[in-house]
Symmetry: C2
Subunit: 503 residues, 2 copies
């Protein structure tokens, strides 16, 4: 009996996924191909599809099926495909039906107005005019947390939207430990007498060649272009719109090589995860990505652990020199590698290097918790922001535009999202260390241009399991340890000891 | 009361249009951008959207609203926005609900199988293996005609899908008259001692430059690129996916200029019509294109009457010579114009010139009527085809692949579609003559690169009226004459008298 109900549940979810995947395509098209004047109608199309999908996701029939299934045998093994499907769909259904329609609408409206206000505020370096809408957003997010419910603190409920099952307490524990190691490490690097020659990255890199070279590298690490494509946007992203349709974007700067190339590797890392999910479970939890943090771990691993390694470039550098003869013909491999691993405290998160990036995130994580917990008034936010930049990075934002106003997230009501970026780096390092332990020295393989062992390991250990485990469970299962800052710190320390002579 | 119902009807139609426009985007994406492996899931997405749209279009609630509205005051002026909306939606609803679901499914299946069989049959020049599925398609189309109903002959019901309100008898009358003039005209041209130098069209035309030049010309005649775009496909097409989103495609041949350029003008003509429809009525009959024939009249007018005219090239030729210096630097304007107006009987419809094209259509129109009326057996179709090519064009298809198997239409269950191509040419000539009469010598304007008078005339007389009149009514209103072959014959006779010295 419950098998029949389960099949109905799955068919229902697959139909919803048809709508959601179409909405993904609309979004991709809007950002890559859509004519400028078509935005208004595109918004209507997307709103309509969202409303159809939302109606399906909150269909009381779904609730009835789930009531029956959660007590059935099928749900008994929570890590089986069926068990995970029932558990995750129950979670999603409960969350969506707990939010009052009025709150959903207010949040949507505040997010649209917030982003408009943010664009202006950032342009005019004017936090004061942005403050009221941010105040309203924070208040609505508190209401959202109350409606959803939480165990320890309201932030738990918000974090759960992006990193399901994770707790504020656990994230805070790991990020505090990370911070206590990173702050002195970054300071030591800033004091180092060694610095890379960044000029060689700023020579002329023709854009056509960047595209060809980037696609070649993305293909080599495992992105399948017969199931995907690469386009250009101002903000790089990766979007999946079907089990065999995953699209990357990047942006090219003819006079700064890393911009285009590492965005391609980063987005290809996301794409490789998408392409590694089980196609037969598309639209169902076992075939869906686990969390934003896990997604980010895949992009950061390929971008940084692999893509900025010496061994990666031992393979690709001759090709790069051939392709960018004018820029790299006379540059040494070691100088190039040092340049792409440059560390320096800077103001802007999205331009930050591997070491300082996490401090940018920790600052935001600490501040948004304080906002939600009513421990920090909106009017005091810019000063608190600047203080943390002084404390953790030793720099002083000269303006709010390049300080507290630099990110879109809060204006878009995305609170609880930021820590997933740091979690991504932490998961990546911990997985990467385990992969090296499980499959032997990766560097030797990379030098030969062979990325298949790592790819296969990720497929088996991470991609194929979809949402059958929580992220915490996955980390524990795969690495036999809970999440910690150790692997990331060890990885960074080794790298920067090499380049900067840390002791 | 009926106003409230009418508003509900319109809202319902606008929501359906949201789904249909999204389906258009999916189709465009499939043909231009989609990764090769994504086809299977794309088919699921499109089938699902079609089923949602079809469910809405046959919603019994719609029938009830329409029952109320057809007898209301709003319907009394059948040419008003409201009157046209009620009349056209009634037509559509009745048609869709008259077809049994089983027949719809059989037609869909036969069309899919038909196209697969056709691809193979054409490749292998093997009509015999294609015959059974074509037999089945013809039989299903007869059933469709019976289900829909007709006044005089089953073909009326099929024609109505593409040229609503038009009758077989009227189309046959005009096309027979056209044929009786065209056959001797084409023969006389074939006998002419004058022939253009086609070699100059086959020189090197760099594809980038073709794109830039083509977009420039499309912009000049009135296609708005802020509301549209241009991409590359094997088969050029135009697709609208919103009131401000109309996308053209073309194909470029570096060594044959007309291929890319005239496809751009042709599709831009379709696009200009789309962009000229009333945006506030998008998804409703007053904001929808009238018929395939009227659509084709707009593409053919800009492609041929405008785009192959001497005056058009008097404006664009210096630019063309500048752009394609190697190919055209030393070529004379008159020689170029003669070359792009070359006439010669040929086997393949899609490569045919302005004069012979209509004979290709007339052959198909006569044959498909004979099939539907059971006056021609499928097995006798290839011989009948070849006989007509001998009779009308004086040539002999050497194979069925380049004969009766050349078009996809019949295999896709599109019977009644072909005559709209010829109707397009007839409407175009009749409209164009009227425009010249109404707004003075067009050639002088074109020489100056000014296409705005013609564009404005088309907007006012044709685009803005959407489906408020039938095509026959529109032709009568705009030109004060019923459709006839006179204008097209006069236009062709004048042109070819000039080039070929017809007497």
């Amino acid at each position: 009996m419950s098998r029949v109900t389960f099949d109905k549940l799955c068919d229902h979810a697959r139909e919803t996924a048809l709508l959601q995947s179409v909405a993904e395509l609309l979004g991709w098209d809007e950002r890559t191909k859509m004519p400028p004047a078509a935005g208004a109608y595109r918004a209507e199309q997307m709103t309509y599809l969202s409303s159809l999908a939302h109606r399906r996701q909150t269909d009381p029939q779904l609730g009835e099926w789930l009531d029956e299934l959660v007590v059935s045998d099928l749900a008994s093994d929570r890590h089986s495909d069926a068990g995970a499907t029932i558990r995750q769909m129950r979670r999603e259904y409960d969350k969506l039906t707990k939010l009052p329609q009025s709150l959903v609408e207010e949040l949507t409206r505040a997010s649209v107005l917030g982003q408009q206000a943010w664009v202006e505020a950032r342009k005019n370096d004017d936090f004061v005019t942005f403050a009221p809408i941010l105040e309203q957003i924070v208040s609505l997010k508190r209401q959202q947390a109350d409606a959803i419910g939480y165990d320890e603190c309201p932030y738990d409920a918000l974090l759960d939207d992006f990193e399901p099952g994770e707790t504020t307490k656990n994230v805070a524990r790991v990020l505090e430990a990370l911070r206590s190691e990173l702050v002195p490490m970054v300071a030591a690097i800033a004091d180092s007498s060694r610095t890379p020659d960044l000029d060689l990255l700023k020579r002329t890199y023709p854009i056509d060649s960047q595209e060809t070279f980037g696609k070649q590298a993305a293909t080599a690490i495992g992105f399948e272009f017969n199931r995907g494509r690469l386009d250009v946007t101002h903000h790089p992203f990766c979007a999946g719109m079907g089990p065999d349709d995953c699209r990357l974007t990047t942006r090219y700067d003819e006079h700064f090589f890393p911009s285009g190339f590492f965005s391609i590797l980063h987005e290809a890392g996301h794409g490789i995860y998408d392409q590694g999910l089980r196609g037969d479970q598309f639209g169902l939890p076992p075939g869906s990505y686990l969390s934003l943090g896990i997604h980010e771990s895949q992009s950061r691993m390929w971008e940084n652990m692999v893509g900025r390694s010496v061994s990666f470039w031992q393979h690709f550098y001759p090709e790069a020199q051939e392709t960018f003869r004018e820029a790299l013909g006379n540059a040494q491999l070691e100088d190039f590698c040092f340049a792409v691993n440059d560390v320096r405290p800077s103001l802007i998160r999205v331009e930050a290097d591997e070491a300082t990036y996490n401090l940018h995130i920790i600052i935001r994580f600490e501040l948004e918790q304080a906002l939600i917990n009513d421990e920090l008034a909106i009017r005091d936010l810019p000063a608190a922001w600047n203080q943390k930049y002084r404390d953790y990075l030793g720099i002083e934002p000269p303006s709010d535009a390049d300080g507290v106003l630099q990110d879109v997230h809060w204006s878009a009501a995305l609170i609880g999202y930021f820590p997933t970026y740091a979690l991504g780096n932490l998961y990546a390092a911990q997985f990467y260390a385990q992969a090296a332990h499980d499959i032997g020295p990766l560097d030797e393989q990379f030098e030969r241009g062979d990325f298949t062992s790592l790819l296969g390991w990720l497929r088996e250990k991470i991609h194929y399991s979809g949402q059958c485990y929580t992220a915490s469970e996955l980390v524990q299962n795969v690495t036999s340890k809970p999440l910690s800052h150790d692997a990331l710190i060890a990885y960074l320390r080794e790298k920067y000891t090499h380049y900067y002579g840390l002791n």
